[in-house]
């Protein structure tokens, strides 16, 4: 029997942080915590406590799986930078897990979703949102296959795209902070919004997906681990808008 590959999973993209790892019997141990504030940044102490709870030594880790977004910038920076440091020190690989896939896995494993298709809504901003539509597929590296390429959409763009007109059978995974107008439209096209909001993505889901990706060879050297940015920096957008306005005035 091959030795257990110990993957440390970190989920810090949302409003609840968590870390997870399998113990020597293969059972998942997870610790959840409030993200840090001005007085305390809990990630590393939580990881330390997790390894003790799972009776695992640092040098027993095989990889670090991280939920890479889209999500809160602060949490992603902390988790990805810490993962880079851990992986570099231990000489192990990292596994980037798209947060939307972790959300789909969380929803599926919590029985919030019964079907095999999930439409995850993340990173809403100014009438747009990140939409990632996936379906269960045991042949896919992560266990989930894209139904459509993930990306940023506005309601107007969705209305004019034929691929979004029939969402019957899709569970729409969106928390209370996502764009209401877009969610209403997805619902009007047959999407079933998960009742009562959605469970947050968990490190357990990141662990499960990360283990699949690692087994499929989808790991990265820690130098290449980066967040999944849904948009360019806002300052760049503003700058481009300002220079375009100046050019118009000048012409």
């Amino acid at each position: 029997m091959s030795p257990l590959r110990r993957v440390l999973a970190i989920e810090l993209s949302g409003r609840v942080g968590s870390v997870a790892l399998r113990d020597e019997h293969g059972a998942v141990v997870e610790r959840s915590f409030s993200p840090g504030d001005r007085t305390r940044e809990p990630l590393l102490p939580e990881i330390d406590a997790l390894l003790r709870a799972a009776s695992t030594q640092r040098d027993g880790l095989s990889a670090v799986a991280v939920s890479v977004g889209p999500g809160g910038f602060t949490g992603l920076r902390i988790s990805i930078a810490a993962a880079k440091g851990i992986a570099a020190a231990l000489g192990i690989a990292t596994v980037p897990v798209p947060t939307a896939i972790a959300c789909a896995e969380s929803a599926r494993s919590s029985a919030a979703v019964a079907g095999d298709r999930v439409l995850v809504v993340l990173a809403s901003k100014r009438g747009t949102a990140w939409l990632h539509r996936v379906r269960l597929d045991s042949g896919a590296p992560s266990g989930w296959r894209d139904v459509a390429p993930p990306g940023i959409w506005s309601r107007q763009q969705l209305e004019s795209d034929r691929g979004w007109q029939d969402l019957a059978g899709d569970a729409v995974f969106a928390d209370a902070h996502q764009d209401r107008d877009i969610i209403d439209w997805l619902e009007s096209k047959g999407g079933a919004v998960v009742a009562g909001g959605s469970p947050p993505p968990t490190a357990t889901a990141t662990l499960v997906v990360g283990e699949r990706l690692l087994a499929a060879g989808s790991s990265l050297p820690p130098e290449e681990l980066l967040p999944l940015y849904p948009r360019e920096p806002e300052a760049v957008t503003l700058w481009r808008g300002r220079t375009a306005t100046t050019a118009e005035r000048g012409s």
């Binding site: 840090g36 504030d37 001005r38 007085t39 305390r40 940044e41 809990p42 990630l43 590393l44 102490p45 990881i47 330390d48 640092r58 910038f73 602060t74 920076r77 902390i78 988790s79 990805i80 930078a81 810490a82 993962a83 880079k84 440091g85 851990i86 992986a87 570099a88 020190a89 231990l90 820690p222 130098e223 980066l226 967040p227 940015y229 920096p233 806002e234 300052a235 760049v236 700058w239």
Partner: protein
């Protein structure tokens, strides 16, 4: 004792290996100036994205240059304040991850304090107490430094000297970062061409103020360009001035800043003398200390006041990680370390 220092407070990603607090085995700095030049200043979101891309390559390069492995480290240190919070989080979190995985102490360092330690790198300790001066883009502060304990004597009440340099440079159309460009522009200019105000803030004050100077410089640029409207676009006016006029303005500005800083240091020396606890040395740090006129003026002051001077070479005046490791060493030798839950903070303990 070998310490890895990491610095990511603004737009430089840096790592250094320093032995026993003074011997710099490597110091690697990846500057982001090119990324921010278009925007005429540091864009926080662009800076933190770049830090995440560069942090490990910079650390690996520092280890390679030092000829050591990460497991050879005795401690890991990072600048945890002050700075852009999104940038600080990258260096701090990577450093904590390294320290935890290597099972080594982690030390969080105040960047302002670290600038003073830059003056002690590759050097011997100065006689104490020292008059410490940090002049950078974010800070202009005077300290009483007894070797261990640091006590602030004065600080800027508005803009830092380096910030004033950058803003003045921008008014003359000099691209970011403007301080070094303004210094080059000042070379050959007439420093007496334009009379600019020196804010002394009262006879006993050791505080600084540069916002009035900035405003006065703006008006001087507009006057030089014959712009009658005080609300005119100063960058547009300043950019089109003749080079000789720009040089005169730059030289006048530089001299005003240098003379203001020297005057405050003289006052601090006098007050210490009067109190019967004279300073025995002068330790400088911060990006503006790379300015040749300031260096010459401070060396002259040290000579005149019979003080030993410790000025870091220009490469260690700018943000770097060697100074972070050196500052951490002073605590690590006593067995001190920080909890891994210590947060990054935007403000210095000395703000």
């Amino acid at each position: 004792m070998l310490i890895l220092g990491i610095e990511s407070s603004c737009d430089e990603t840096a790592a250094a290996m320093v032995e026993d607090g003074v011997r710099v085995r490597s110091s690697v700095v990846a500057s982001q100036h090119e990324l921010h030049r278009t925007y005429r200043g540091v864009v926080p979101e662009i800076a933190s994205r770049a830090h995440l891309e560069r942090i490990l390559p910079v650390i690996h390069e520092a280890a390679r240059e030092a000829g050591c492995e990460l497991r050879d480290l005795d401690a890991v240190a990072a600048g945890i304040r002050p700075g852009l919070i999104g940038s600080l989080l990258v260096g701090t979190s990577a450093a904590k991850g390294l320290a935890w995985a290597l099972d080594r102490p982690f030390l969080g360092v105040d960047h302002v304090e670290a600038h003073l330690f830059a003056g002690l790198l590759e050097s011997t300790p100065p006689p104490w107490p020292a008059l410490g001066l940090v002049v950078s883009g974010g800070h202009t502060s005077l300290f009483h430094w007894s070797g261990g304990r640091l006590r602030r004597l004065g600080r800027t009440i508005d803009d830092a000297a380096g910030e004033a340099f950058d803003k003045a440079a921008a008014m003359l159309g000099i691209p970011h970062p403007g301080g070094p460009g303004l210094e080059r522009m000042a070379h050959g200019g007439d420093a007496a061409a334009v009379r600019l105000p020196r804010a002394m803030l009262g006879r006993e004050s050791l505080d600084f103020s540069f916002s009035g100077l900035k405003t006065a410089f703006r008006l001087a640029v507009l006057a030089a360009g014959d712009a009658g409207d005080p609300a005119a676009d100063v960058v547009a006016v300043g950019s089109t001035l003749a080079n000789s006029t720009k040089s005169d303005l730059a030289a006048s500005f530089e001299r005003t800043v240098v003379e203001t800083i020297v005057a405050k240091c003289v006052r601090a020396l006098e007050l210490a003398e009067q109190a019967g606890n004279p300073f025995r040395s002068l330790v400088l740090g911060g990006g503006v200390v790379a300015n040749t006129s300031l260096r010459q003026a401070m060396l002259a002051l040290a000579d005149e006041a019979d003080l030993e001077a410790r000025l870091p070479p220009p490469r260690w005046c700018l943000d770097n990680a060697a100074m972070i490791a050196a500052a951490a060493h002073a605590r690590a030798v006593d067995g001190d370390q920080d909890d891994l839950a210590i947060p990054a903070e935007p403000l210095s303990a000395w703000s």
